[in-house]
Amino acid sequence: MMEIQTMKELNEACQREEKSIGEIMLMMEAEKSGRDQQAIISMMEERLIKMKEAVDNGIKDATTAPSGISGGDAVKMNDYVQQGKSLSGSYISNAMSFSLATSESNARMGVIVATPTAGAAGILPGVLFSLHKNDGTPYKDLVMGLFTASMLGLVIANRSFISGAAGGCQAEVGSATAMAAGTIVELKGGTPLQAVNATAIAMKSLLGLVCDPVAGLVEVPCIKRNVIGTSIAFSAADMSLAGIESRIPCDEVIEAMYKVGNDMPRTLRETALGGLAMTETGKRVKERLFCRKS
């Protein structure tokens, strides 16, 4: 049975089998689960459909989350983009809107798909549905993109972390952004090595980012960090597709993320005891929310 523990092994497996990263994931999943590939693809399709529904619901919903500290920004962003005002170009602008829509839905207890967590659920759908909108990438390719993303995510999750509580936001939004960057590259015809390079470049850009949610909620600053994650994913993918390599190999970047996460104090790992959570405004929000109901 094929076991892949590093990005180096992943790249070698792609070369040896003459398959994409997504195809390797699909093959491994079939081997491990005993399900046939078509059944696995159908399960992944179901997830893509749920992601699309979250985007579609979120993009027209201007209501606030129960906390009152998020909501309504996806509508604003979408209006702005549709007026042709955005500076970032349509790929990034659309991804920003879709990502906001998903993360705001998440805060309202709407249905989303954890990719890899709920806190980072906006990034992958943001970039995938932006690719679909801008260059017509078909849904069946987006489904394969989810296999690419999960393969990259599995290596990261097993060698480092994917949750803010464990390794800070670098582990959560960082991992999701890195997965998204590699996925864009593969969907745009880049080689597995280029996809892995984009993963490394994206992760390096978010290294050290702390997890400091106001009042412990997955809203401030999480939602906007998902949005920014999509633009980092596109920038990293563009660099890699241009032939630019990460000077530090991806496996070493992941190891660095792990070490940085371990060195991060507990106050900056989803305890709401540091960073933005402990600003004057952050503390006021916490007091207001915790006094209201209890």
Partner: protein, 170 residues
């Protein structure tokens, strides 16, 4: 390697806002629902540590009650499960403790649930990314891994809730 499947990374399909404080907790409730074979009529919930600190914002209480009522992680009724519980005549109380003496994890709960003559006391921890673990059933320490797609009724079928013994516990 803790993460095995592509669906450990892409998934679960869930109601927000948190894979650890919401989705993982629905699974713990759903497992208890399967243990009893139906939803409990009376429930005592203890939330520990991080669950006790942040349950309101994450809807951890709604998630647990939703699971106890038989809902899955992606059931949009979870948002209104407090009302659903009332409608079904489910009585519940929630207590808060700083740390759990049975299991060392910040996201831990112990639930005592009663239906008719059956009472179960179950300890669960939500490990992250929607993955959970049942660590205690009645007085036995166990290790049952719960992932949102699993067949909880099969996982619960080897444990039989005790009858009438724990009336005082509730």
């Amino acid at each position: 390697m803790e993460f095995q499947s592509c669906f450990d990374i892409i998934g679960p399909i869930m109601v927000g806002p948190s894979s650890s404080h919401t989705a993982g907790v629905v699974s713990i409730g759903k497992f208890i629902h399967e243990l009893l074979g139906d939803y409990p009529k009376e429930v005592k919930i203890v939330f520990y540590d991080s669950f006790a600190e942040t349950y309101q914002g994450h809807g951890t209480d709604k998630a647990l009650l939703g699971g106890l009522l038989g809902m899955d992680t992606d059931d949009s009724r979870i948002k209104n499960s407090l009302e659903w519980a009332k409608e079904n005549g489910m009585q519940y109380e929630i207590e808060f403790e700083s740390c759990c003496e049975y299991f060392d994890h910040p996201n831990t709960t112990i639930v005592t649930a009663k239906r008719g003559d059956c009472v179960v006391k179950v300890g669960g921890a939500s490990l992250g990314g929607g993955l959970s673990k049942i660590f205690m059933i009645d007085d036995d320490m166990v290790a049952i891994r719960l992932s949102a797609g699993d067949d909880f009724s099969a996982l619960a079928s080897s444990y039989h809730p005790r009858k009438k013994v724990m009336d005082k516990a509730i």
